[in-house]
């Protein structure tokens, strides 16, 4: 809640102190003043103290009238030069905290108008000896203020217990909704405030700003839901990335163990059964899962351990046979290795040449495109050559500088560009293919190399054994056992790593499930059930008030609250569909004023009913516009006087007549604030 308690003006002139002060109460306040007596100055001063002067159009002291800046006229035709002026405003929130804001309009020291002093207590008509403490704060920009100073609007936001949402600007950054933008929904200024809904809302690069303000005032979930949707999209992206990384880890692990991975999903999914995911290891051209493979090795180790270890002498014949077999194998393999590495070099060479061709083609394409552009521009520039005509003899030159004897027809430049484009595409495909083959061949060559070195070391072992003492136990046998043990160790660790990755995957899949669930919970059009209730209530209330205020331009059933920007629209059938029209253009002038009355107060009603963020303050300068009948104005005042728990400030001149004032306020409960004579007058 924002309640205006008191306002005070101090205007020092060269002929003494001028000013005045006024008090406002809860419920309906009627500020009555004849035209030119300073009614609008009072309205402007309130918005100025709150730093909302942007709704009047402009910033800082420029928005204040000359009576605070240049000269005071009092009485008529007698002028006094202003040398200093201050405005004080006392406001109160729902916790009954009171602060007084002091802002200068004209200062004879270096005090900038961006500076306000906030006193934590009452200041106006305060007779205590000690004034309350105060803190300087800045409005709009840090311009004349120092960095340690506090932003006044941040203070005001906290004072009102508001939590302004972040909104997306046109340039795509996220920033807070400005408090001045909310202000135009409850402060309606005389000059342009009545031309449209929220007519005076400053733009600040925000698309659909009215909608954002209303979403905040009515505390609609739609903002939150949209934000949550963004969050979900963002989180999904993160999980997708993690998923891809994890997939790579699986692939790398499989490569490390010389196996191949099966059953991984490319994109995040909810996995219920992890048994499909495994790494297959090959032994004797059969594939085994990791645990089966380990079992196999253990079994083999058991079998070898059962056998007694032969001595070298006993083993000679088997060793020799083994050696011959190995040598053959190595010969074969070296040959393959040689062939493949030649092929690989050849392939790499070709890849290099493709790449250099590609870069040449790209340069060529750039030149051709440039030539085409210049050619087209040249035609505008009236160059004959651009039109493929010889500038000397006007003969066809076929867009080429080839000598005439060459009887070849060149392609048109456009076709030539397409031709080069096609070539580039082809080369790109070649390069991709080539890179793939190279990759495969490199893998194969690595495999050959590993096998070769393993076989060679086996050969060395055999040879060593053959020349060693015949009585010694066979090293090969022992080595074989050790190797088996080592391998079993390795694959046990390998299985552990694999299981760890599976755990990570389970975790990720679980996160994915949660996100998918929360995504399905979001309402399709982002409106929650309570949003629908609020908007329906707003629509109903708006229609009821329109009827009370005697709105006649459109039939009731065509009037709706738009779900796009929450403003009233006329929805009429157009063929099979319905089409929305602006209520402003489809209503008469005085009826549109009734629309603003009704809409401003139905926002308040809706916010009160659903405990929204409305400050429960409405200020209207001269709501009786456009020759609205005085009877209707009376109905309006009567209706809004029921809002005893909110504060309503109506600034009106009543056509400068007592008669009109009496008719309009008949049987209406209100607090009268009468500006007699002039707003700024001498203080004795």
């Amino acid at each position: 809640m924002l309640k205006i308690n008191k306002i005070k003006f101090d205007v020092n002139t060269d002929s003494g102190l001028f000013g005045s002060n006024y008090e406002f109460s809860s419920g309906l306040n009627i500020i009555r003043a004849d035209n030119t007596s300073g009614k609008s100055s009072l309205f402007q001063a309130i918005s100025y103290c709150l730093g909302f002067e942007e709704i009047i159009g402009g910033r800082n002291e420029k928005t204040m009238q000359s009576v605070f800046r240049d000269q005071v006229e009092y009485p008529k035709d007698s002028f006094h030069k202003v040398i200093q002026s201050f405005v004080y405003l006392e406001i109160e929130n729902s916790k009954n905290d009171i602060v007084t804001i002091k802002r200068s309009v004209l200062s004879n020291s270096d005090r900038k108008p961006q500076l306000v002093d906030v006193y934590f207590g009452k200041l106006i008509n305060n007779t205590d000896d000690v004034l309350p403490e105060y803190k300087p704060m800045y409005i709009h920009d840090k311009g004349g203020a120092t960095d340690e100073m506090y932003g006044f609007h941040l203070f005001l936001e906290n004072f009102l217990d508001w939590n302004l949402p972040n909104v997306l600007t046109n340039s795509g950054d996220s920033r807070k909704l400005y408090i001045q933008q909310i202000a135009s929904s409850f402060m309606i200024e005389q000059k342009s405030g009545w031309s449209d809904f929220f007519a005076t809302m400053p733009h600040f690069g925000l698309a659909n700003k009215e909608a954002r303000a209303i979403e905040f005032i009515l505390k609609l979930d739609v903002t939150e839901n949209k934000k949550r949707k963004q969050q979900i999209v963002f989180n999904k992206k993160i999980i997708e990335d993690k998923w891809a990384t994890l997939n790579n880890q699986f692939i790398r692990l499989a490569e490390k163990g010389g196996g191949k991975i099966v059953g991984i999903e490319q994109k995040p999914t909810i996995i219920n059964d992890y048994r499909g995911l495994n790494i297959f290891l090959t032994k004797d051209e059969e594939e085994y899962s990791i645990s089966n493979y380990i079992d196999l090795q253990i079994e083999e180790l058991r079998l070898t351990e059962k056998k007694t270890i032969f001595s070298v002498g006993q083993n000679i014949s088997t060793d020799e046979a083994q050696l011959e077999k190995l040598n053959n194998f190595i010969n074969q393999l070296s040959l393959n290795y040689e062939l493949l590495s030649n092929e690989l070099n050849f392939d790499k060479d070709r890849l290099r040449s493709y790449k250099s061709q590609l870069s040449l083609l790209k340069i060529d394409l750039g030149k051709n495109k440039g030539a085409l552009k210049v050619k087209n521009l040249g035609a505008e520039f009236d160059l004959k050559t651009s039109n493929e005509v010889c500038p000397t003899c006007n003969q066809d030159i076929k867009d080429s500088l080839l000598p005439l004897e060459v009887e070849q027809i060149p392609m048109r430049l456009e076709d030539n560009i397409d031709f080069i484009d096609a070539q580039i595409k082809m080369i790109v495909v070649y390069i991709e293919g080539q890179e793939k083959t190279i990759n495969e061949k490199e893998k194969k060559i690595d495999l050959y190399r590993a096998k070769l070195s393993e076989s060679r070391s086996n050969v060395r072992q055999l040879k060593k054994e053959l020349i060693s003492d015949e009585r010694l136990p066979s090293i090969i046998e022992i080595e074989n056992r050790l190797n088996l043990k080592k391998r079993i160790e390795f694959y046990k660790k390998f299985l552990e790593d694999f299981n760890q990755l599976i755990e990570d995957l389970k975790d990720l899949s679980e996160q994915w499930k949660k996100i998918v669930i929360s995504e399905t919970k979001l309402p399709k059009n982002f409106f929650s059930k309570s949003d629908d209730d609020k908007l329906k209530f707003l629509e109903n209330q708006f229609k009821i008030l329109l009827k009370e205020f005697n709105y006649t331009s459109q039939q009731n059933e065509f009037i709706h609250i738009s779900r796009e920007n929450y403003l009233p629209v006329i929805s009429k059938p157009f063929g099979e569909e319905t089409k929305d029209y602006s209520i402003r253009f489809d209503s008469s002038g005085s009826d549109f004023i009734r629309c603003i009355w009704a809409y401003t107060f139905s926002l308040l009603d809706t916010s009160i009913k659903f405990d929204g963020n409305h400050p429960k303050l409405i200020m209207m300068d001269e709501p009786k516009q456009q020759d609205a009948a005085i009877e209707n104005f009376h109905t309006f005042l009567k209706r809004i006087s029921f809002h005893v728990k909110s504060q309503i400030l109506i600034f009106a001149s009543f056509e400068n007549s007592d008669e009109a004032f009496k008719t309009a306020t008949k049987d209406v409960e209100f607090n009268l604030v009468y500006i007699e004579d002039k707003l700024i007058k001498p203080i004795e």
Partner: protein
């Protein structure tokens, strides 16, 4: 087999792809760029135009010219190409009144200057601009080129 017998063969001429260097507008634009960016008073000898046009053909040629400048014209530059296409393009330029021939030198006209502005606005030929802007108006002058060509004929031309 008789079914597949070929009765007659026809050839038809298809348009061929030609290097961009043979496109009149490309070459004209090149001349305008060279004269505007690298020539004092927008005026140049035929030899200089040939040198820079040749340099713009590919990166290898550019490097050679850059090397020449870096070494302060001390290296023996392999002879640069003189292409008839450039001469033809120059004839077009004169006929289009983009440049005029003055005392054996090519001078950019007002129309040529306007055409250069159009090329600038079109934001094309990034690499050409980069190279020519590096060369600028002071690094290669007609006198230098003449002395190189003289030196070359001294060593390489008999009689």
């Amino acid at each position: 087999m008789r079914d597949f017998e070929i009765k007659d063969v026809k050839f038809s001429k298809k348009p061929i792809s030609i290097p961009v260097d043979y496109r009149p507008m490309y070459k004209i634009a090149q001349i305008v760029m060279i004269l505007s960016i690298t020539c004092i008073g927008n005026k140049s000898s035929l030899l200089k135009l040939h040198l820079l046009s040749w340099a713009l053909k590919d990166d290898k040629n550019k490097d050679e010219v850059l090397e020449l400048i870096k070494k302060n014209y001390d290296t023996d530059i392999a002879v640069w190409g003189i292409e008839p296409a450039l001469n033809r393009a120059l004839l077009f330029c004169i006929s289009e009144n983009i440049c005029t021939l003055e005392n054996g030198k090519y001078l950019l006209t007002k129309k040529g200057e306007d055409f250069f502005k159009i090329i600038l606005k079109a934001e094309v030929f990034k690499e050409e601009f980069e190279f020519l802007n590096f060369i600028g108006k002071k690094k290669i002058t007609d006198n230098r080129i003449e002395s190189i060509s003289k030196k070359w004929s001294l060593f390489n031309v008999k009689n």
